[in-house]
């Protein structure tokens, strides 16, 4: 398997009130093609910073991050924007969408902006509709973003992240703002995407979400303290056992 993401000796430092604050310290890990990796850790441990730094949305201080073979720290701003547009997808805890646009227009926005995705605007529209059908939100296509539920909105955000067929999805607490049912629905969609071959790196506090990933990284004070392999998630039958295993492992790690 090829690595989609390779992180080597990643450091991220902020200077705050003339004091150096090392948020990430020599972080090393990889994400393989089609793999789903969860990042867990206590609040302030650097989970989200890790996600944004390895996705090129934030600058790194030292180390090396290769995404699909490209050293993202050496890419210019515009090249990085192109990588984000065409090869990465982002899902956030809050369902961020552009106001004044319908759900459908929000989803196709990155596709229209991309010059790489094939099929012209007609093909992009077809792709968007297909994604919305799969996510079961085609009925709310023309709705305003304030007219739909949180779960529907998050599924729309997932559609948007997939619209340009990215190589990897970065998800920051994707179910953090959702109720139990919506959370389960959204996770099922993320798993389905992953099963279709898109790598996923997600940050979560939720053991039930982490249990559906292939590997869990545990981060404390900017260091990856441990890694736990769960194997590919196939179906719900093993879910309880996976949750127990992770729980035990996390307890051992000091969770």
């Amino acid at each position: 398997m090829n690595n989609v993401l390779e992180v080597r000796d990643l450091c991220k430092t902020y200077i705050l009130n003339k004091r150096q604050n090392n948020v990430l310290k020599n972080v090393n890990f990889t994400v393989e093609e089609g793999e789903m990796v969860a990042v867990m850790g206590p609040s302030g441990s650097g989970k989200s910073t890790l996600l944004y730094t390895v996705s090129g949305m934030d600058n790194l201080t030292a180390g090396n991050v290769r995404f699909c073979g490209k050293d993202i720290s050496s890419l210019g701003k515009n090249e990085l924007a192109d990588v984000r547009l065409n090869e990465m997808g982002f899902i956030f805890q809050q369902m961020y969408m552009l106001k004044n646009l319908t759900i459908y227009d929000n989803i196709i926005l990155p596709a229209y902006q991309s010059k790489e995705s094939a099929g012209g605007r007609a093909g992009k529209n077809e792709n968007a509709k297909e994604l919305m059908r799969k996510m079961d939100i085609i009925d709310i296509a023309e709705n305003d973003i304030n007219e739909v539920s949180g779960g529907q909105l998050q599924r729309a955000c997932i559609c948007r992240s997939l619209i340009n067929n990215p190589r990897m999805i970065f998800a920051d607490e994707p179910t953090g703002s959702l109720n139990k049912q919506s959370s389960a629905d959204v996770m099922n969609e993320i798993i389905r995407i992953n099963q279709e071959g898109t790598a996923v790196l997600l940050v979560t506090h939720d053991i039930r979400v982490a249990a559906k990933s292939e590997r869990v990284l545990y981060i404390v004070d900017g260091n990856i303290r441990g890694e736990y392999g769960l194997g590919k998630y196939e179906d719900a039958t093993m879910l309880k056992e996976r949750e127990r295993d992770i729980n035990q492992w996390l307890m051992d790690m000091g969770w």
Binding site: Y52, M57, D58, K77, N78, A81, D82, V83, R84, L85, N86, M88, F90, F92, Q94, Y96, M97, L98, K99, N100, L101, T102, Y104, D105, I108, L109, P110, Y112, Q113, S114, R121, N125, D144, N146, E147, R160, N164
Partner: protein, 766 residues
Amino acid sequence: MNFIVLIFIIISTIFLASSVNNLLTTNSALSYFAEVTNVADFFLLTVSTDEVEAWADSKDYIGSLEKEKYIILETDEVRLGQKKYELTMTTALGKLPRDNNRITDAEDRVIQEMKPGEIGMSYVEAQQNDVEIGDEITIILKGKEKTFKVTYIFKDMLFGSAYMGVTRLIISDSDYEYLCTADTTIWDLYSFTTEEVTQLSSDINQENFMITYMFDRSALDSTYLLDLMIFSILIIVGICLICIAFVVLRFAIVFTLQEDYREIGIMKAIGLKDGNIKKIYLIKYLFIAIFGAVIGLILSIPFGELFMQTVRHQIVIKSAVNSLIISVLCAAGVVLLVIIFCYFSTGKVNKYTVIQAIRNGSTGERFRKKGLLKLNTRKQLPVVLYLAFNDILSNIRTYLVLILVFTLGALLVILPANASNTLQSDSVIDLFGIISTDVYIDNNRYSTYAGQEEQMISDLEELEALYLENGVELKLMAEKAFVAYAYLEDEENKIALSCIQGYRSTADEYIYLDGTAPRLENEIAVTRNTMERLGAEVGDYVYIRIGEETNQYIITASYQTMMNMGEQIRLSEAVPDDSSALSGLYTLQGQFQNREDIEGQIEVLKESTPDYKVRTVREYTDTMLKATRDTLLTMKYTILIIVMIINALISVLMCKSLFAKDVGTIALMKSMGFKDTAIRIWQAARIITVMLVSLAAGILISRPLDYVVGALTFGIMGASTIEMVVIVPEVYILYPAVLLAATILAAGISTLKVKKVGLKELGNIE
């Protein structure tokens, strides 16, 4: 944002204080000028005689009478250094007036003394010959010669306007006595103070004084019509600037407070009362407003002067004693307005629940479509432009305010520019009541043709032959002038008038306001001012005495002229004129028969008759309009620069306000892979689109408004039908492009902040 509010408070104070001051001072400018210079009520210019004083003694209603003596100068009697001095109007040389009709220096102080060797002239006269303080002027009179140093370029209500037809050079008493000899042409100026102007005029008409000019204060005021036109433009500009400033100020305050809604919500959440929250903002804005108003107050003085200095050269305008009080009141008004705006804007917070305030006034429940454009139906539109257009249509009320402000700005540039261009154009010759020809020639002998029509015809023929000899075929035409007396029914109410008749031109070649050109022996055209004075209308009969003969004529048309204070009669070519009554020529003009190389032919005329003044339409009209033209040109560019700066500031305000609201969305777009440039285009495109729409609206609205401005400005001069000149490349392309460029530049700079937006700003998304 608070800084931007401060800037607009400063701008509002500057505009309000300076415009209100200018409105008040211009409104009373002429009466103040008359008061300072003690201008009399009625004036009579006669060839020197002592009869008038004796006659006036018998009239009880005459309060006082002052007599001043003036030497009338001829062209070759004045030199500027080693150069020829051009007399563009009747030039009188006199002593310093001490009681009536005084003159003031550049600082508006009445001139009390002229020392031997000093000479002064009006601003308009100095402009005609490019005379500056310190220049040397030599007067050569009947064998006597004296060189003077120009020490004053003064303000002269009586003879300071280009439309008076008379100007005066003022020297010391001793120099006057030295130059005045028995054989110089002397005119007496009688200045009457009386409340019975009509009676006085009527009584003078019954006498046989050798009258050269006779006019009252209202006629004198009318010679400042072009200055009044500039005042009108200043008033329009002032009102527009005040409107712009207030609209933008309110906009800025509402925008700034909206930014703080979340903070207000949190304050409400922790238990602060609405009244306390309001106080915080009212005190904050009170301080900003006072600080801004003080700075604005200080800056309003030079800003107001910027416009007023254009007319201040010629007219005494009220001193700044009152204006400081007015400015302080205006500044206080701006502070009050800011507090009112702030009070009403914070008032909304009372109505909101805590959570609504935190959500920037949104309830969170909205079942209304906001976006009006659909991206998927705009297949060719770039995404960022779609976003910009969609934002505008989704917040149309906000953007309409901006469109209104920018449209006002565009009109502010376009309308005065069209008025200025019209005055700069050759078509302005219509205002002089004469026809447009290639050249206007002054052979320095206009007045010598009095009673000498045959001589005039012979001179014209000789001149044509001379030009032909030099290869130029020029058809010469002339306007013959007669002194006429007109009355409707009662001969006692007759008025003295200038009467003209075309020589080699027919009456139907001229432009009339209404009626038809006079063609028959008993038909005449009369200016509007004359009709008003006579109490006549088109179709009425009037009696006119020219020379010894009195005839009845029917008025077939009315027309306009800025000359002779707008009072004139035109005879048809069919009227057999009384050659002996000819008082001289009004104009001598020519049309080239060969239409090629007009400029070259003009050069030939100048070389053939170097002593004559050969002028184009532009040069001819410049003799009276130069000062006004220059003033309007300065105003045109000043207004353009001011509007450009205002637009740029509004663009910065808008971009910053929108940026503050959009920062979360920008972070989101960055996360989606939108490049900084694309996001900046989206941000700037909104304000640029608004500007483009406003410019288009401004251009469209300016067409009908041109006629309103034309009526307001040129109408003052009696020119109600002047065709406004629109120079499309300049007014509709260059100026809008300049305004657009300023907006693009301001928007481009303001959106630079997009680069600094990081992902952590996602939390700010609404």
